[in-house]
């Protein structure tokens, strides 16, 4: 033993009359160290804690994991009052590669006579086990708590504080647990259940965090009872399930059926999980009812199930998820359902397919709607096709009848508006009126009375008045046509009432002949009108049919066309219609060689719609002629194809608001002079323009400069411009 140590021991022996405090079985470790920290004496408990064998040697600091802590203790001793113990609640020691935690006290030993510090006396209690438990509680990702009989928080671990949004457990300790409930009434009911049932597990609770946000916890609680069995509080744990609740809510609220399938030992696909939507899609009341069922059970036929399996297999081979497969399944109650299936296979660690997860959408209504639309489209197409045939029939029927009604004074009068044709009525109407007037001058009153009663002569007199004063009846020439026809029919009918022999034959014969000639001209005008109308309707009907069926046609590839060829073809299609209206086409190409790369049927349809409109809405100009101007010119990388006509205005607001391009829209002035239309021409043409990367624009301004833009009784110049991208060179 070193002499200084021996000397110290002697001094210590003086302080302690004997060493009995170091020879005991106390559960507290007691030791003495020199002023240099050398371990001098210790009891059995210290030996146990520090695993000391044989002679007591070494320094206490050798065992300290953090030597700074023990040094700090000794420094405090220097400052401390005489006899004060300096305490360290936790001192971490390392004893033969083991962590040992002790609760430690130390004080100074002084020489009674000199007062000199001769050593230090220390006590230690092994709290290793307690500390480990404490650490577990501190570090657990689970909130742990203890409440007293009034449900105040006695103790909480840091995780619980964290769940509630607090920085430290001290912020929640001593507070009523109700403070943290979103619904305080639920705090009371939970307490009551724990009190009566002794505990609760997996109880979902909504909590209010420090920042006001809601959290959801799954709570476990155990009742703490006093010795007489009364409720003395509770203790337990809680897990933050806020995210889990959020995902569950999303899963439940998504308008999609979600499911998971596993392959069982027999190689069968079995549902192991799904959300409520999936169950409801298949007419199950609860998702639990579907779990465990075989997937093939929801398929009405083996073939349909096989379709799914093949699609999944293809996806596996191509290493792609299944996407958008439509399958027919059957609900629990027998309802036929069409599902759109999207799924991804799941594999185990070895890469074997063990199942799949997927999302489905009920597309039954969509499929039915598409079927109906397709059917309707075919029906409309068929109807329009029939209508086209009917128009041909009507036109040809009118034509063959007109051929029998020669001579036809209107045969060469092409281009005259139907209302202008009624000028051809003047001469025969005049002759008819004269014949009718002569009737009143034939014979005497008695003779006329024998031929017809007075009231019949009054009717004949009315017809004569009508024929002589038709301009007072109506300004409209078509009304004149209708009136003359009716008057002629009425007169002929009255003539038939005259008994043979009661009236001179010649005036009657002449009257009948003139009435029939007037009727013939009226009928010829009507037949020419029919001819004109069918021509006017023919192109829109064909165009509408082409538009309706365009979605059903096989996709047409683009081809390269010269712009002048397109214009020429369009003008050719509408030549007969234009001729019937007396409209001339004036065509000008700034560049004859411009080319476009287009789906030709669509663009020709668009051009036809625009040219048809231009012809249809044209008026005769002051010069007496009528023409539509067609011009093509290049602007940078596009060609502008312009159709300009003189005639019916388009109100400014209908252009500015884009109404004219709306499907089915007919402008409020568009039925001027009964111009028929479907309202689809501009809509279709604008869509075609967009699809080829071009555009369509319309302008309409008074033909005479300086006139009011909102005076829609005057003629307007309207220009429709179809812009098409030019074919790229190279």
């Amino acid at each position: 033993m070193p002499s200084d140590v021996s000397a110290s021991l002697d001094v210590i022996a003086k302080v302690f009359l004997d060493y009995s405090i170091f020879n005991n079985d106390l559960p507290v470790g007691i030791y003495a160290i020199s002023t240099e920290g050398e371990l001098l004496l210790c009891n059995k408990r210290v030996r146990e804690i520090l695993r000391l064998e044989g002679e007591v040697t070494g320094r206490i600091t050798d065992f300290c994991q953090d030597k700074g802590v023990i040094r700090e203790a000794f420094h405090e001793l220097v400052e401390a009052k005489e006899g004060t113990w300096v305490e360290k609640h936790l001192l971490a020691l390392r004893v033969r590669d083991r962590e040992v935690f002790v609760h430690h006290h130390v004080r100074v030993i002084r020489d009674d006579e000199t007062g000199e510090t001769i050593g230090y006396l220390g006590c230690m209690v092994d709290i290793t086990a307690e500390h480990r438990y404490q650490r577990i509680f501190e570090d657990l990702p689970v909130g742990i708590y203890q409440l007293d009989e009034e449900d105040r928080v006695i103790w909480a671990n840091p995780r619980l504080a964290d769940i509630l949004g607090y920085l430290a457990p001290s912020e929640i300790e001593n507070r009523p647990v109700k403070d943290f409930y979103a619904d305080t009434a639920k705090a009371d009911s939970f307490r009551e259940r724990v009190r009566s049932e002794g505990g609760m597990t997996h109880h979902r609770v909504e909590l209010r965090r420090k920042d006001g946000k809601l959290a959801v916890a799954s709570v476990f609680a155990r009742k703490v009872a006093s010795s007489d069995g009364r409720y003395a509080g509770r203790e337990g744990a809680m897990i933050d399930v806020t995210d889990e609740e959020r995902y569950k809510k999303v899963q439940e609220e998504l308008p999609l059926g979600l499911y998971e399938v596993r392959i069982n030992d027999k190689g069968e696909d079995v549902f192991i999980d799904c959300n409520q939507q999936f169950a409801a899609l298949l007419e199950f009341d609860d998702a639990e009812d579907l779990k465990g069922r075989k997937v093939k059970d929801i398929y009405p036929t083996e073939a349909e199930y096989e379709k799914l399996r093949e699609a999944i297999q293809q996806g596996v081979e191509k290493d792609r998820p299944l996407h958008g497969l439509r399958v027919n399944v059957q609900g629990k109650k027998g309802k036929g359902i069409v599902l759109e299936v999207n799924a991804r296979t799941k594999r185990d660690r070895e890469g074997r397919i063990i199942g799949r997860v997927g999302a489905v959408r009920d597309v039954t209504e969509e499929v039915e709607l598409n079927r109906k639309v397709a059917e309707l489209t075919r029906d409309i197409g068929a109807v329009l096709h029939t209508l086209s045939s009917t128009l041909v029939n009507v036109r040809q029927s009118a034509s063959v009848v007109m051929q029998t009604m020669v001579p036809d004074p209107l045969e060469d009068a092409k281009g005259i508006q139907p209302e202008q044709m009624v000028e051809f009525l003047s001469a025969p109407a005049k002759l008819f009126a004269e014949s009718l007037a002569r009737l009143f001058q034939t014979g005497d009153a008695a003779g006329r009375a024998r031929a017809l009663p007075d009231e019949r002569w009054a009717v004949l007199s009315d017809q004569l008045d009508l024929l002589r004063n038709y301009e007072k009846l109506s300004h409209n020439p078509m009304v004149r046509l209708s009136t003359f026809r009716e008057a002629a029919l009425k007169v002929l009918s009255l003539c038939d009432e005259i008994q043979r022999g009661t009236f001179p034959r010649e005036p009657l014969r002449q009257l009948r002949m003139d009435a029939r000639e007037l009727l013939r001209i009226c009928n010829l005008i009507t037949l020419h009108q029919v001819d004109d109308l069918t021509l006017e309707l023919d192109m829109p009907v064909r165009s509408l049919r082409a538009y309706v069926l365009s979605g059903q046609r096989q996709e047409e590839s683009r081809t390269i066309w010269q712009v002048r060829e397109l214009v020429s073809k369009t003008a050719g299609e509408l030549h007969e219609f234009a001729r019937s209206r007396g409209i001339e086409f004036r065509i000008k190409h700034d560049d004859q060689e411009l080319q476009v790369n287009i789906v030709v049927s669509d663009v020709l349809r668009a051009l036809s719609n625009l040219l048809h409109n231009a012809v249809k809405y044209s008026w005769r100009r002051p010069s007496g002629t009528a023409w539509v101007s067609i011009r093509t010119r290049q602007f940078q990388t596009a060609v502008h194809i312009e159709f300009e006509n003189y005639g019916v205005p388009i109100p400014k607001e209908e252009i500015d608001q884009g109404l004219i391009f709306q499907s089915g829209f007919r402008g409020r002035i568009s039925s001027d002079r009964k111009r028929t239309g479907t309202g689809f021409g501009l809509f279709d043409a604008s869509q075609v323009a967009r699809e080829v990367g071009g555009s369509l624009s319309i302008k309409s301004h008074p033909a005479s400069p300086g006139r009011r833009e909102d005076d829609y009784k005057q003629p307007f110049l309207t220009t429709a411009t179809l812009v098409l991208p030019l074919k790229k060179i190279g």
Binding site: V459, N476, V479, L481, S482, F484, R666
Partner: protein, 157 residues
């Protein structure tokens, strides 16, 4: 001189699609027929002259009056949806519900003098027509004869 029944027909296609029905009315000799081709024109005639019978088409263009153009535009700017003929009837027969308030409604205006001749089947507008108390309603179909206007006038008489 015979006193003729004064008839106003508010119809934009009277001089075209239905012109063949005009002749029989004029030739009949009992009627003085006036044709208006828009809502504006129809209202103008009603407020300026008295008529024994008024026949109204439900699908009318607005004409020049800004108020009718506004109603037309609010109704989708198409005759089918706007049904300006119904609005004309409202304005004359049930002004408190009307979209266009007229400054003056002549005393002679009463439901029993009004008839509807239109494309819509009655069932589509039945409740409104009944509310307006108009009892004579004829649908335009391919089957109507050239004497249909005479038949309507007979029904009104």
């Amino acid at each position: 001189m015979k006193i003729k029944t004064r008839v106003l027909w508010i119809e934009d296609n009277a001089h075209s699609d239905y012109v063949h029905t005009v002749g029989p009315v004029l030739v009949d000799g009992r009627y003085d027929l006036v044709i208006a081709e828009s809502a504006s024109e129809g209202i103008q005639y009603v407020t300026e002259q008295e008529f024994d019978a008024v026949i109204v088409d439900l699908r009318l263009p607005p004409g020049d009056d800004r108020r009718w153009i506004t109603v037309y535009n609010h109704g989708g700017s198409n005759r089918t949806n706007a049904r300006l003929g119904l609005e004309v009837l409202h304005a004359l027969l049930r002004p408190r519900d009307a979209k266009v308030r007229l400054e003056f409604i002549p005393k002679w205006v009463e439901p029993k003098r009004f008839a509807v001749f239109t494309v819509e089947p009655k069932v589509e507008v039945q409740s409104i027509i009944e509310m307006l108390d108009v009892n004579v309603y004829v649908q335009k179909t391919a089957e109507v004869s050239t004497r249909v206007i005479l038949d309507i006038l007979q029904a009104l008489a």
